[in-house]
Amino acid sequence: MTMAPEEPKVEVPEGYVKLTIDGEEVIAPKGELLIRTAERLGTVIPRFCDHPLLDPAGACRQCLVEVEMNGRPMPKPQASCTMTVADGMVVKTQRTSPVADKAQQGVMELLLINHPLDCPICDKGGECPLQNQAMAHGRADSRFRDTKRTFPKPLPISTQVLLDRERCVLCQRCTRFSDQIAGDPFIDLLERGAHQQIGTAETAEIYDAASHTASGKPFQSYFSGNTIQICPVGALTSAQYRFRSRPFDLVSSPSVCEHCSSGCAERTDFRRGKVMRKLAGEDPEVNEEWICDKGRFAFRYATAAQRLRTPLVRNAETGELEEASWTQALAAAADGLAKARDGKGVGVLPGGRLTLEDAYAYSKFARLALRTNDIDYRARAHSAEELDFLASRVVGTTPETGVTFTALEHAPLVLCVAFEPEEEAPAVFLRLRKGARKRRTKVVHIGQWTTPAVSKTFGELLACVPGGEASAVEGIAQHAPDLDEALRAEGAVVLVGERAAEVPGLFSALHRLSERTGARLAWIPRRAGERGAIEVGALPTLLPGGRSVEDAAARSEVEQVWGLEAGALPGTPGRDVTGMLNALVTRDLDGLLVGGVDPADLPDPALARKALAAASFVVSLEMLPSEVTEHADVVLPIAPVDEKAGSFLNWEGRRREFSITLEGTGALPDCRVLDTLGVEMDADLFTQTPAAAAGDLARLAPKPTGSAAAPDVPNGHVPKAGDGQAVLATWRQLIDEGTLQIDEPHLAGTARPVVARMSKASAAGLGRRVTVSTERGSVTLPLEVADLPDGVVWLPANSPGSKVRATLGAGHGAVVTIAAGGDQ
Amino acid sequence: MGLEENLPNGILLASLEKVVNWARKNSLWPATFGLACCAIEMMTTGGSRYDIARFGMERFSATPRQADLMIVAGRVTQKMAPVLRQIYDQMAEPKWVLAMGVCASSGGMFNNYAVVQGVDHIVPVDMYLPGCPPRPEMLLDAILKLHAKIQDEPMGPRRAALRAASGERTEIIPSSVKYAKK
């Protein structure tokens, strides 16, 4: 007699429970939501409000299932998106339970009662969960015979986000996102019962609703675009993309954001050779599912009317730039550069927005074709101390060895020094907030005032005078022993931003702090290409892979890989940006090869202008005309990121590769242009394509860090403001007058207000506007009182009406004159 | 004819051009190039109901050397392309090409690797006729429009240059309007 083999008894591990879903036994971790357990089994329960990264709400009731506990069925179907699994639970979804199925269909019918039938004109039509589920589970006709509820539409929540309340199913994804993830409660539920609707404080006033948002604040968010993406119906739409195309007409291509150093994953949707929109991509290691509005909406710079599309060569007789063929332009550029090289030499300013491959081409071009170390990508304030810091602490770090987004989320303490996460790296800000909200990460900011980022990360501010950050860091041990103690905890992180280069001694102080406490140190630049440019040696002291130019062994290694004769690489460190500009003015340098650099970003724009005028030969590789173009002898147009492949290295050192989105536009990446230019100058770069450049770079394995000397610069004296003066604190706002944000009126409308900030005591007697001036120029802005130290004024660095570098010629920590600006 | 190339520009040619063009347009002999469904409509056009003989075209020629007008009727595959070009090359000058139907004109709905995306990639096309397939009236309409173009064709390079410089173009008028009974 044969016996049926006994069912092997499955042990339920600790922390797990066993339950039955649709007759199938499942083991699930405690605390898991039913809807996810079912999903792992392959049963998709329809839902609208549920989102894995938002707290459960149970708002839409679409995910009803039948649940039985301890043999007793629950009296009514339960929402599976709010119910956690329990031992011995028996769950029947719509697959096996007619009750659950009927309940879901009923909810669908109720949701559709007030939903307009305007799918043909709705931007969500074609990718709409409500549409899909109505088609899959809904009734073919409606039993509702009365008049549908209507609202005036669309209602602008901001210049960028439009709300159509008729379509809303009140799932509260948007309100939960703004409340939980972004921390900007700009959108909220208003009214009750049948009148319940989504709105803002402003809309509540306009339409005279009985209640206001919880905060009552006007719209202000850098992350509002995400609500458009997670809206399960077409209630929230973007003004930029509105009615521009339909999802079934778009081709999607995964891409990487080119705006900041976070390297967020994106999805670029295009049709007929034109990018229509960008959406957040999913990468749990980096940006999870969120991106900032700049990454989402700022892409039309690539289609700007003024974009350079053909090479230009300056006519020697008329002095005008004239269109030329690539062959002519490259020959002219090669000829001029070779002459300048054989004269006093050529400097290279690649700029901080290059892909890894393009930056490598610049680095190699400088060494091979121009035979110089005069290359510096830093198109911003910089210092020799920073160079040492980058060589000793930054180059070569990877997610395996350095700080990561995940590490930020799990850190017990994060100290932000001279770094404004929300403005400079929004994805970092979201992680900090997530850590602070979910894991009680303590966030301490050493800055000037309680910025929105400080309060939204539930942070603590250690206010200091601009330029006094180094002393503040030094003083931690003495004045903030609890912070010092917390920094010694396992996993504590110190983040430092690009502004640190303007504070003498800050990098050294941070290095010492990190050595003393064991806290991990991460440098978060503002631009996407900075980290990659360091790695490929687009710096005067570094060769690719973090090799020092002064190290003979490292040089010969590079010479071997590049197939050069021994001793071909110059062994003396080159000049930095300011050094090169000075040398051009004093005629110690003849030529200049410039990438995407705006002279107004440089520490001294006036010097930059003088240098450009003094240079005997300037070659510009640019996408859009700039001040450099006016002085350039040859202009070579290059491709925007959508039209080339490549990779960015984000601040973690993570390689963020992307392939070409728009093919066949004929635009060439920098590496290809430089390669051909190199051939004209008898130097083979082997960077014809980004893939070739990456392959060539891979042969130069990075050298382990730690070989370079750490920076050791004494603290600069803390700037002091005299009578009628103040110390300037300044940094860029996320949405400002940046070149990559041109042609985006809707996005520009969501920028933060451009105001100057001072402490109450310092602002006394100045009236409602303040004029900040130096001997170069002045900026007059509305004055707002904030908790700055006395004698400090804060200005946005590059916003409309406040271009600090260009107008004042000063930076963070400079002493400026303050006067009343009139009331206007 | 060849003779006109050597004649001086002047009084004679304006009238001669008209006569020659009149003769040419009224005795167009088509080289059939039926490749698909459009060819069925083309055959219908040759039949008694539409009677292409009314326009002096009844002799559908299987000998390219006796033909002036190539009616490419149907989708041209990459494999057929060289054959088509060879037939075209064998036709004697002057010669014209009519792309009949959307497939011959642009590839039509066959946007794929096998089909030539428009016969104008291989031979110069004088008249594009949309439709899938075009009905016989449409073919007649296209032929009549081509007649109008032939009638206006300049004789000799000098007159061609003059006409190009003047920017003059034959007006394309729907045949039912142009030839409507008054």
Binding site: R272 | Y50, N111, M127, Y128, P130, P134, S175
Partner: protein, 186 residues
């Protein structure tokens, strides 16, 4: 001997039979009432466009012959009732196979086909018909957009009461707005 006469007899007798040949083009361009000729973008009785730029026609098109881009109606510049209108509308007649799936897909009955078929042209550019080429001619009572909604406060009025509104506006009776081009041809 008789054979030859018999042969001529066939020819001779045919001279008295009805001629089968259609006298195109002299008799005009005949077509069945529902013939799939070229497209027409229809108008509401007050002249506003029916097209809302939804691109469903482009989606339905098996030959990818249609390109549509939507646009925003504003109070100052209104082309159709409601929020959205077709800003750019192109049909490539060298791809179009006249299947009519686009007409079936159109949710507002904006796109229909008329009987006109004499489309042949001597260059590919001119056979891409744009919105100006495709829009229906203005009938009595219609005015050229952009102009405000004349027949109601919102698009509901246009869609729910279309035929009555057309009559009130003086569109000739027995003539639907969709078939105007047909008449206009003659």
């Amino acid at each position: 001997m008789f054979d030859a006469l018999k042969g001529f007899g066939v020819t001779f007798s045919n001279m008295f039979k009805k001629v089968a040949t259609e006298e195109y083009p002299e008799i005009g361009a005949p077509a069945a009432p529902r013939y799939h000729g070229r497209h027409q973008l229809n108008r509401h009785p007050d002249g506003l466009e029916k097209c809302v730029g939804c691109e469903l026609c482009a989606w339905a098109c098996p030959a990818d012959a249609i390109f549509v881009e939507g646009g925003d109606n504003t109070e100052e510049e209104r082309y159709s009732p409601g929020e959205r209108y077709g800003k750019d509308y192109q049909i490539n007649y060298l791809r179009c196979i006249g299947c009519g799936l686009c007409v079936e897909a159109c949710p507002t009955r904006s796109l229909t086909m008329i009987n006109f078929y004499e489309l042949a042209d001597d260059n590919r550019q001119d056979l891409i018909y744009t919105k100006e080429d495709l829009l229906a001619p203005l009938l009595p009572g219609m005015e050229q957009p952009p102009h405000p909604m004349r027949l109601g406060d919102n698009e509901q009025d246009y869609y729910v009461n279309g035929p009555e509104l057309a009559r009130d506006r003086g569109v000739p009776s027995g003539e639907t707005v969709e078939t105007s081009e047909e008449k206009a041809m003659q």
